[in-house]
Every structure is written in structure tokens, then in C-alpha cells.
């Protein structure tokens, strides 16, 4: 029997308030294996840790149980302390008597009794804990950034600046993302392209950065420090190295009626195209679904006019395989589809547009060359109504496409839009219907107030109930004004809907490939909402930008930098210590039946024939399983699939869990 020390934490009054910590320490001190038991106001403090360290030495402890807050909080702290005193860090167990005891039970007697039981279970488990030594695995000093919007760009630049090679995978023909489509940025109203394009160029020129545009991640295997990624480079039918971006092919291409993605379908482009003037790489693409040569085998005009000889109709998609130490998800967002909101007449009227479409209308390289015009008749609108929270802050069932969260950026960009309208076209009447105006952020509320006070934008608290297209081409907006308690009918020329934003559709399959977790809205989950906001719980996967949650540009850039610094911290290491709580197979009992390999999500189990001839009870070569400890993540699926019980999990072994069960049910 091991010599166990028990340390009960008061956590101030957090634990001591509903658990009689003295009694817990006293009672657990009487357990057969326990040679030392004490309590202390803050075990996690330096003084508390010293008590543990001293006791390990003085009482020659072989196992430590700390009754304190959740192991998710301070297990690592206590492991370090135990380790400093010369004991294997895995000979420590934490009994969670705060989150799962003192905080939920009001009754002192019941709380104390439960704390004792939880302590006993930890003592029973630690008796069976094996001293584990974390293995090491090397770190590939290269990072992958998935998504080439402002988040991906900033992350890549920061990693590259630190001297590590980094690859950007972007599914569109150019990097830049949503920010390329935006006109001005709040709260300073500087031009989006002017601040973005230099960064795009920097990416292209930085020797440490490789851009895989028009490419998608196909498969990810491996683990932190050693990911192996297959990148599918879609065929663009243009040789990237030869194309000079002169744009002649895009002018001569006879197919002119392809909806232009850059303008959200508000204008058309050719089948041969460069997404926009500042595209990086500045290389043409042939739309394989619309190009006459690629669909019907005829035409070939672009090839004739291309002086660089860059057009290659035979180009095939290729797979690039590369190793990375770290992966950053920066997959961004899209506005939701709002066709389901019949009351706003989005599908019925061209003059009801989304905010992103409105950006295109305002921007100089947009479908109206930056002139504020109605898309139906090209007339300048005199009255514009902005509707906030379209699809945001909705509970699930109402429209089916609504989101329960606040999209965060809409209040600010709507204030920006309203302001720009009034500035450029002072004779325009601008109404903003809002539920709440949310403007936390530096200079944000000031910005919004300026829209109201200086620019005279009519902010009305109340939601629009109905938008009805009128025979004269105007739009009748019916809404409630909750402050004056009246129903308003505004005859508008244009209605702009602040559609909710949602994670890009590519995020979910990517998360599956990365084995990174997501919330129900398909935003990536962070390892800790407060303390590890840019890391995924899956080691080696980091989060940048809106794929983690709604953010505006300054926040995205800040988070992108934070993700980069985490990546740099990882790549700076030569070796990583692995999680030692992994599966292992007892070869003497293994049947080699493959049940375990069938359920292993990581492909960590392999089989080999081994000679067991020296055993007396049979001279046999048997097929037995072995676990790659660097690949295994320690889920334990194999341990239950194994009928013979040969497979067990270190740190959560069958006997350990059984011992806990026994202690709890005693």
C-alpha cells in the first residue's frame, strides 16, 4: 500500500463555506493508506504548494490527493508542485470538492459527507496510479494557415516575421477575403482596400510565406508538432508562373454573363477572370463550368490572345502534401441567406439589399461604381431604411435560418453606412430600426453618437414588421416605434438588411479533419473561453478570426496576432512532451482481433506477429496490437472494444476506475 498524503483546500470560503474541511482532512487522515492529511486556506498558493512539497519529503509520500477545485483548473499546478518535490507528477489525483461539491450543495452535512467520499475515491485511484513519463515528439517548424482573409493574412505575416515558414491555403482564386469587398472601415472611416492590399502584397513578397490560392485542405493526419496535410490545388487552367495578370484574356473572353462573386452577383464577369484588380496572386482563372473551351471543346480565344502562353486547358488539379507543426483555422464567415424572411421582401425587390451588398454599392469598384443607386432603376434613393438584427438574436424555430447569437458587427457597420449616406448625399433621409445599439469598443459609441447628432440619422427603437413593395417602385416599411408607442409607415426607396453572419460552410468539414470541436453554431470552440481563447482544445490547432466567433476587423487582427504568437511559441520548441495518458496493449492477452483498430479515430493501433514461444503453455506466433503513443490521444474507445481486456488506458485504467466506483459505492 502506498503512502498517501491528503491536502484539503478551503479555497477561502468557497469550499470551507459548505464543506467542513477540518472534518474532511481528519476523516481522510484515518484512511488506511493515508499517512498525512491537512487543510489550508489556499492550496494553489505558493505557501500551499510548499506544504505539499514539504510533506512529500517529510512523510516520504508515494501518492498525493488534493481536495480542491476542479482538476481542469489546477491539476497542472499541483502536478508541477509534486514533480518539484521529486514525485512523479502522475502520482497525483485531484478530488473536485468545489465545482462538484461545495458550490452546488448548501447543506454542510451533505457537502462534507460527499467531499469525504470524493476524497476516498481519489485515494483509491491514486493507489493504482502508475508513474507516467511523457514521451517526446519532434516539432516540424512550419505552420499552415487555412483561410486567406485578414485573419489568415495577419497570422501568416506574424509567423513569417518570426522566421518560420508558413503556408496559406485559400479556397478562392485570391487572398483577401471579405475585407476586399468592404468600402470603408469603422470607426475611422478609412478605406478598407487601402489598409488591406499592402498586407496582401506583403504576403506575396514575404519569402517565408507560400500562398496556395484556389486550394482546399483535403486531409489532415498526425498530431501537434507533426501534422501531415494534403492540399488540393484546384485547376485554374492558367499557369501561375507564366501569367502576368495583364487581363487581356478576361477582356476577350466571349462568355460575359457569369454572376460576379466579388460583387455578390450584382454584376457579371467573364468566364476567364481575375476576381478584382488587386488580387493576389494577380493571376487569371478559367471558370470550368462556364468556359466554352472547357465545357464544349470549342473557342480557345484566351489562349490565342495570351502573349505569355499561360493558358493551359489540360491543367489538372494536384495534391500537395506537406508537414506542419501547427495549424491555424481562419475560415471566416458569410452573411446568412435571408430568402426565408418573406416579410422583408428581399426576394421580391431588387432595392432590398443586404449590408454586404450595400458595401458593394458604396464601393468605387462595385456594380454602380460607387454611386448610391437603386439597383432596380438606377435612381438615387431619397429615403433609406436600415433594419438591424435580421437573423441575429433569434431563437431556433422562428425562421429556421436565424442565429441565436448577436452578430456583433452590424450595429457599427450600419452606423457607418448611415453616416456615409448622409455625408455623400445630405438630402437622403436615413432611418435605422434597432432593437439595441451595441457599441462596446474604443471610440465606438462616439461613432454611433456622431451618426445621430452630427449626421442626423433617425434611430428608431423598434423592429420592422413588414416591407411591402409598392406599385410606384417604392417600399412601404411598417415598423413599430417603441419609444413613442406608435406604428410607423415609412415610404422608402431602399431597404438595407443587416443579415446575421455565420461561420463559413467549409469550417465544419475542416473541424472534422482537424478533430477540433465546434459549438452548435459551427464556430470553433476555444480551449478555454477566457484563458485560452485562440487555441482549439485539439493540441496544435489554433483559431484566428470569425471562425471562433463574431468579431470586427480590429478584434480579428488582434486575435490573428495572438494565434500567431501561440504558433510561434510552439514552433520555437524542438520537442514536445506527449500526453502520457495513452492506451497500451498487453500482448500476453491480445488476440489480435482488430476490434480496437476498428474504433480508433487516430489510426494509432498497428499489428505485428510476435513470437511467444518461450511461454510454456504453447509455442506460438501471435498477431498482437501495439499503440503508437505519439498518435494516441487517449480516448479509450479501444479499451471497451477489446473483448479480452488486453487494451487499457494509462491514467484511466480499468482497475483505477473500478477502484473509484468501489470507493464511491461503499
Amino acid at each position: 500500500m502506498r503512502r498517501i498524503g491528503v491536502f484539503v483546500c478551503h479555497c477561502g470560503t468557497n469550499i470551507a463555506g459548505t464543506v467542513d474541511v477540518k472534518t474532511v482532512a481528519e476523516t481522510l487522515g484515518k484512511e488506511p493508506a493515508v499517512v498525512y492529511a491537512t487543510d489550508y486556506p489556499y492550496m494553489c498558493s505558493e505557501a500551499g504548494q510548499n506544504i505539499i512539497k514539504d510533506a512529500i519529503k517529510e512523510y516520504k509520500l508515494e501518492g498525493v490527493v488534493v481536495c480542491s477545485c476542479s482538476p481542469r483548473m489546477h491539476e497542472a499546478t499541483f502536478r508541477k508542485a509534486v514533480s518539484a518535490a521529486g514525485l512523479n507528477p502522475y502520482l497525483l489525483e485531484v478530488a473536485n470538492i468545489r465545482e462538484q461539491c461545495s458550490w452546488i450543495h448548501k447543506d454542510m452535512e451533505a457537502g462534507t459527507a460527499k467531499a469525504i467520499v470524493l476524497g476516498r475515491a481519489a485515494i483509491a485511484k491514486v493507489q493504482l496510479n502508475a508513474p507516467l513519463i511523457a514521451g517526446e515528439s519532434p516539432v516540424v517548424k512550419r505552420a499552415l494557415v487555412i483561410g486567406g482573409g485578414i485573419a489568415g493574412i495577419q497570422t501568416a505575416l506574424d509567423i513569417a516575421d518570426a522566421g518560420y515558414p508558413v503556408d496559406i491555403v485559400e479556397k478562392e482564386p485570391t487572398i483577401g477575403g471579405k475585407m476586399t469587398q468592404i468600402d470603408k472601415t469603422f470607426p475611422t472611416l478609412d478605406c478598407s482596400s487601402c489598409i488591406l492590399t499592402p498586407k496582401m502584397v506583403e504576403c506575396a513578397q514575404n519569402e517565408n510565406i507560400t500562398i496556395y490560392s484556389y486550394s482546399e485542405v483535403e486531409a489532415v493526419t498526425g498530431f501537434v508538432g507533426n501534422f501531415s496535410v494534403k492540399i488540393r490545388r484546384k485547376a485554374r487552367f492558367v499557369d501561375e508562373n507564366k501569367c502576368t495578370g495583364c487581363g487581356v484574356c478576361t477582356e476577350k473572353c466571349p462568355v460575359k454573363n457569369v454572376p460576379d462573386e466579388y460583387n455578390l452577383g450584382l454584376s457579371n464577369r467573364h468566364a476567364a477572370y481575375i476576381p478584382f484588380a488587386q488580387a493576389i496572386p494577380n493571376v487569371a482563372v478559367l471558370d470550368k463550368n462556364r468556359c466554352i473551351k472547357l465545357t464544349k471543346g470549342k473557342c480557345g480565344l484566351c489562349s490565342t490572345v495570351c502573349s505569355a502562353g499561360a493558358i493551359d486547358y489540360e491543367q489538372k488539379e494536384t495534391i500537395v502534401e506537406e508537414k506542419y507543426g501547427a495549424i491555424v483555422a481562419a475560415t471566416g464567415y458569410n452573411p446568412i441567406k435571408i430568402d426565408g424572411y418573406d416579410e422583408f421582401a428581399y426576394s421580391q425587390s431588387k432595392d432590398v439589399v443586404t449590408s454586404l451588398e450595400f458595401e458593394r454599392i458604396l464601393k468605387a469598384d462595385g456594380p454602380t461604381d460607387g454611386h448610391l443607386q437603386r439597383l432596380s432603376d438606377g435612381k438615387q434613393p431619397k429615403t433609406i431604411v436600415f433594419v438591424q438584427c435580421v437573423g441575429s438574436r433569434e431563437s431556433g424555430s422562428s425562421h429556421g435560418c436565424g442565429k441565436e447569437y448577436c452578430s456583433k458587427i452590424c450595429c457599427m457597420y450600419t452606423a457607418k453606412h448611415a453616416m456615409l449616406c448622409r455625408e455623400k448625399y445630405p438630402d437622403t433621409d436615413v432611418y435605422v430600426f434597432y432593437i439595441d445599439v451595441r457599441t462596446p469598443g474604443k471610440n465606438y459609441d462616439e461613432f454611433y453618437r456622431r451618426a445621430v447628432e452630427q449626421y442626423g440619422v433617425h434611430y428608431i427603437k423598434g423592429m420592422v414588421g413588414k416591407v411591402a413593395p409598392q406599385a410606384d417602385g417604392s417600399l412601404m416599411v411598417q415598423a413599430s416605434d417603441l419609444i413613442s408607442n406608435e406604428q410607423l409607415h415609412v415610404k422608402a426607396d431602399m431597404v438595407v438588411l443587416a443579415a446575421a453572419i455565420e461561420p463559413d460552410k467549409s469550417a465544419r468539414p475542416l473541424a472534422t479533419m482537424l478533430t477540433a470541436s465546434m459549438d452548435t453554431n459551427d464556430f470553433f470552440t476555444e480551449a478555454h473561453a477566457k484563458l485560452r481563447p485562440v487555441e482549439s482544445p485539439t493540441a496544435g490547432v489554433f483559431l484566428s478570426g470569425v471562425c471562433q466567433g463574431p468579431k470586427d476587423i480590429p478584434e480579428t487582427v488582434a486575435q490573428a496576432g495572438a494565434a500567431a504568437s501561440k504558433v510561434i511559441g510552439l514552433l520555437a520548441k524542438d520537442k514536445l512532451s506527449c500526453n502520457p495518458c495513452v492506451a497500451h496493449s498487453n500482448e500476453m492477452m491480445c488476440n489480435g482481433c482488430s476490434s480496437c483498430a476498428n474504433v480508433c479515430p487516430y489510426g494509432a493501433i498497428t499489428y505485428a506477429d510476435k513470437d511467444f514461444s518461450r511461454r510454456q503453455d504453447g509455442s506460438m506466433i501471435r498477431r498482437v496490437a501495439s499503440v503508437n503513443e505519439a498518435v494516441c490521444q487517449g480516448c479509450g474507445a479501444c479499451t471497451v472494444a477489446c473483448p479480452s481486456g488486453a487494451m487499457d488506458l494509462k491514467g484511466f485504467s480499468t482497475s483505477q476506475i473500478m477502484a473509484e466506483v468501489d470507493a464511491i459505492c461503499k
Binding site: 488476440n591 489480435g592 472494444a641 481486456g645 480499468t654 482497475s655
Partner: protein, 324 residues
């Protein structure tokens, strides 16, 4: 049939195709032939095949997995499913085995004969539907159907699913065998009645381990119940719970792997209806995850090492029961 089999075995042994033959020879009693290995043509004299040869030979092949030379084995339909399952689990190597399939229309159970008054059984002869049981007290002519073992009355398949050659004509699957009838009957009972039923059954268990030892799916190098590290090892059941535990865990370990060969119930000296546990799992998995027959196809993936994203929730078991 016995002579044809013997002849083929002699030929294959003589021409070196195989180095040993796995078959049956008479056991202590004539009604209890025992699996046997024959390594010479001469020894084949003792080879027996008749309607008492019920035991499933597949499991014995594990022993010869890595031994020199090929093994000839005679597989009945039931046994061939077990063979495929062992193949799936890499417990046998197909190339090391020469399989002769033998058709089967059911094996005779000794206790059924006793019910018909047969004592001191010396042998059996089959002629179509009729059997002639030789006893110390003279011959007894009986209808074979009436003397079949329980499992043969609800035989799922008369088809040998894997073989190198077939002696006689191969049979067909028998989907209307009604093998789940008894399970359904139990399901229709109240929980209290079921509890009573199983209490009656399982309390008979003497933990002789016959079910485990005969079961082709229970072929672990070391059974968890014999392994002190498993936390549930037991030599004998200390209390009634451990009886349950043994049988639940055993059924669980073979769930998705059990081919429903019925050997467990056949060999149980206490006549516990063990196959009803396995069949419950088979039926439930069929209902929840689609039809699956272990051993029908080598290399297939059993339901418990598989999943779909939209599997039913465990609570379905409770709503199902409430619906009844």
C-alpha cells in the same frame, strides 16, 4: 456420408494437400462424439460422422493457426459462419485451412432421445426423416424432426458460407426460422416476469465455464474473468450478482461477433437458455442498426465497432418497452 468424408480425408492426407484432419471421433458415449485431430490415414479409422456430431469445429483451428502444413476441417453450415467470424478477427489464416463443407439438416439431441425412451445408446443411423437409434435394449425407430436439438429447430441457415469443396448439396438460408420467437415472448412479458424468468435461468449456473469454453467467439488468449488485472476476475460466482455479471459481460463481449451457432446452450449442463441472451443482442442490433449476420461474410464490420451519425439514442430502449 461418414465414409465419403473419410475417403476424401484419406486422399488429401495421402497426397500431402493437408497434414492433419480435424473431425470427430466417438467420445465416452456414442451420443457424444468429440472433436479429434487425425494425422495419419490409419488413424482415420476412428473418424466418425453421424447425427450426433454437433460440435462446432471452427474454434479448434485457432490452435493450428501457425503450425506447419494445412489443416483439413469439416464444417457444417453453423460452423462455417463461425469460421468466417474467426477469419474477420484474424484468428485463423484462410490459406492454412482446407475446408470441406458438409450439409446439415439438424443434429439429434441426446435428451430428446431419452424423452422418447432411449436408454443405453450405442449408435445412430439416419435414413431420410427417420433415425434408427441402437441401444443396449434394442433398436428404436424415431422421427428425426422430433429428436432435433433446440437450436436446430430454429436454424438460421443450411448454407455452408465458406468452403474449398462441398460434399453433397449446399443448403440455403432460412430467414423464416423464427429464431427470435422466444426473445419476442420474453420482451412481451412485464419486467417483473422477465426478472423472474432470468432469475430462474441464471441461478442454475454452476460456473463450469462450458459455455465460454465451447464458444467460437469466446476465444480470447485470456478471458477477462481469469485475469486478475481486469477487476472482475472470478473463479466461481461469489454471489448471484456475479452470475449475472458473467453472463451479461459474456454476451456483451460476443455481441456483434456471435454467429448464433447455439453451442453455448447445447453444452450447458444446467440447460440454461444462454442463446436467448445472444439472440436478444442480435435482434436488438438488427432493429437499431440494420440487419447484420456475424460470419455471413468475412471482413464485415460488426455493429458495435461501427456507428452512424444518426444512430438511435439509448433511451429508445425505454420508449420501445413503454410502447409495448
Amino acid at each position: 456420408m461418414q465414409e465419403v468424408m473419410k475417403k476424401r480425408a484419406s486422399e488429401l492426407l495421402a497426397d500431402g494437400t493437408v497434414v492433419r484432419v480435424l473431425g470427430w471421433k466417438n467420445g465416452e458415449f456414442a451420443y457424444d462424439p468429440t472433436p479429434a485431430v487425425f494425422q495419419t490415414v490409419e488413424s482415420l479409422e476412428a473418424f466418425v460422422y453421424n447425427d450426433f456430431c454437433a460440435s462446432n469445429l471452427s474454434k479448434y483451428l485457432i490452435k493450428f493457426l501457425r503450425q506447419e502444413g494445412k489443416t483439413l476441417v469439416f464444417l457444417k453450415p453453423c460452423d462455417s459462419y463461425s469460421f468466417n467470424q474467426l477469419l474477420t478477427e484474424h484468428r485463423v489464416i484462410r490459406e492454412n485451412v482446407y475446408i470441406i463443407g458438409v450439409p446439415c439438416d439438424g443434429k439429434v439431441a441426446e435428451d430428446k432421445l431419452r424423452e422418447k425412451g432411449a436408454e443405453g445408446i450405442l449408435g445412430i443411423e439416419t435414413e431420410g426423416d427417420q433415425i434408427k437409434v441402437k441401444t443396449l435394449y434394442g433398436d428404436l425407430d424415431l422421427n428425426k424432426k422430433e429428436c432435433l436439438g433446440e437450436r436446430c429447430l430454429s436454424c438460421k441457415s443450411h448454407q455452408v458460407v465458406v468452403f474449398d469443396e462441398m460434399l453433397g448439396e449446399n443448403g440455403e438460408e432460412n430467414p423464416d426460422c423464427g429464431r427470435f420467437d422466444m426473445v419476442e415472448k420474453l420482451e412481451a412479458m412485464t419486467p417483473e416476469q422477465r426478472f423472474e424468468f432470468w432469475r430462474g435461468e441464471l441461478s442454475k449456473c454452476i460456473r463450469c465455464n462450458a459455455c465460454r469454453n465451447i464458444c467460437p467467439a469466446c476465444s480470447c488468449e485470456k478471458c477477462v474473468f481469469d485475469n486478475p488485472a481486469s477487476g472482475i476476475s472470478q473463479k466461481a460466482a461469489a454471489d448471484s450478482f456475479e452470475e449475472n455479471m458473467f453472463h451479461i459481460i459474456r454476451a456483451f463481449h460476443v455481441a456483434g461477433r456471435c454467429t448464433d451457432c447455439g453451442e453455448c446452450s447445447r453444452v450447458c449442463p444446467q440447460h440454461i437458455l444462454l442463446h436467448l441472451l445472444n439472440r436478444k443482442f442480435i435482434k436488438e442490433m438488427n432493429e437499431c442498426y440494420g440487419e447484420y449476420q456475424a460470419g455471413a461474410e468475412a471482413g464485415s464490420r460488426a455493429p458495435l465497432v461501427n456507428f452512424t451519425m444518426d444512430d438511435c439514442e439509448p433511451s429508445i430502449i425505454y420508449t420501445k418497452e413503454a410502447g409495448k
